[in-house]
Symmetry: C2
Subunit: 208 residues, 2 copies
């Protein structure tokens, strides 16, 4: 499987998946070409061909893909079979937005629980998901076999939460606190600083 | 000025700025070397040297930078002199988080107003910032000379809001709706899909 898939390809995979799964059973049991998918979705067929080739090896010249196999390959890539559990630490507005984000499900992620240290929030629910005390993080993640965590705490608490996630067995951390965190060995972290994203967008053409 | 500054460099510039502006006046009127800054902040001096060279041409071998000039160059790059106004459309939890985000100020951004179409929200304030009806967007942005907009509405409304921002004179759009938007000519847009960011992080090493 192609490790170097682009975010553009990833953004289109749910489109293909939704289109293919919406086809009648008779067509799902037949073949479908990248060109036909491109036409149906109004996309460039070269682009669609490349996207599909990056997640499925089932394409054959002049025949296309066995539709059901292609659905399976895309779904597998997107992780639909996984329903990977995700925890979010920090229940401010940003953390709440993460618990309410419907789009995670399109990529096979299931945000199962929020954590905070504010006793007024602990024991409540947001979007049907329980809010637990952050002291429960390790036990929860180990019991539920959770390996993905999102950090939405203030900058001052972020490194500590990162370390606690590492101890809890989290392997992938997405950090939204505006501080560049480094994670222990064996853990993949992505620091998403929205201010920097905005600065890259709005300044890069301003500062000549 | 270097247009190809990295996000890592951008993430460190506020550190340098805060350190330099905290120095006593006597040192601000003198010189300072990249090595001295690196030591004070516990950073690699080669990295600091490269960072500073990308935003200031004032560095001289064995002398370093005139401290006040360096402060000015970093501040100019970060846009502190600008206080660029930013509007946010979509006052769900994510939009509220944008109005409360303190880190924007570190990069010279000033989130001045939120917009929504929910009459229950219009007329209220979040973090001291007024919430206006989205029908006021064009008038507000033109009167206040606002050129930066953040989209935090649901997917179904995102393209319409993008078009309205373009008509309002917005030149830079940061989109958080989980849909890939294309902006009219002359407008720079960055689509930030958090699900895709998470998928890139958690799947790229999973899918071999």
């Amino acid at each position: 499987m192609n490790k170097n898939i682009t975010s553009q390809t990833l953004s289109r995979l749910p489109l293909y998946f939704n289109y293919l799964t919406s086809l009648p059973e008779s067509r799902k049991n037949g073949n479908i070409s990248a060109t036909a998918i491109a036409e149906a979705l109004g996309l460039n067929d070269v682009q669609v061909r490349k996207d599909l080739a990056s997640v499925s090896q089932g394409g054959r010249p002049k025949v296309g893909y066995v539709t059901n196999e292609l659905i399976g390959d895309i779904g597998k890539f997107l992780g639909f079979a996984n329903h990977d559990g995700v925890v979010v630490v920090g229940m401010g507005n940003f953390g709440r937005a993460m618990l309410e984000n419907k789009s995670f499900a399109d990529y096979g992620f299931d945000v199962v629980c929020g954590f905070d240290c504010d006793e007024k929030l602990v024991g409540t629910e947001i979007n049907g998901k329980p809010i637990l005390n952050v002291s429960m993080l390790r036990e929860f993640c180990q019991n539920k076999n959770i390996h993905i965590g999102i950090i939405t705490v203030p900058e001052s608490a972020a490194q500590e939460v990162c370390n606690e996630m590492a101890e809890a067995g989290i392997k992938y951390i997405l950090n939204f606190a505006p501080i560049y965190l480094t994670a222990p060995a064996g853990i993949a972290i992505h620091n998403e600083n929205i201010s920097i994203t905005l600065a890259m967008l709005a300044r890069k053409t301003n500062q000549e």
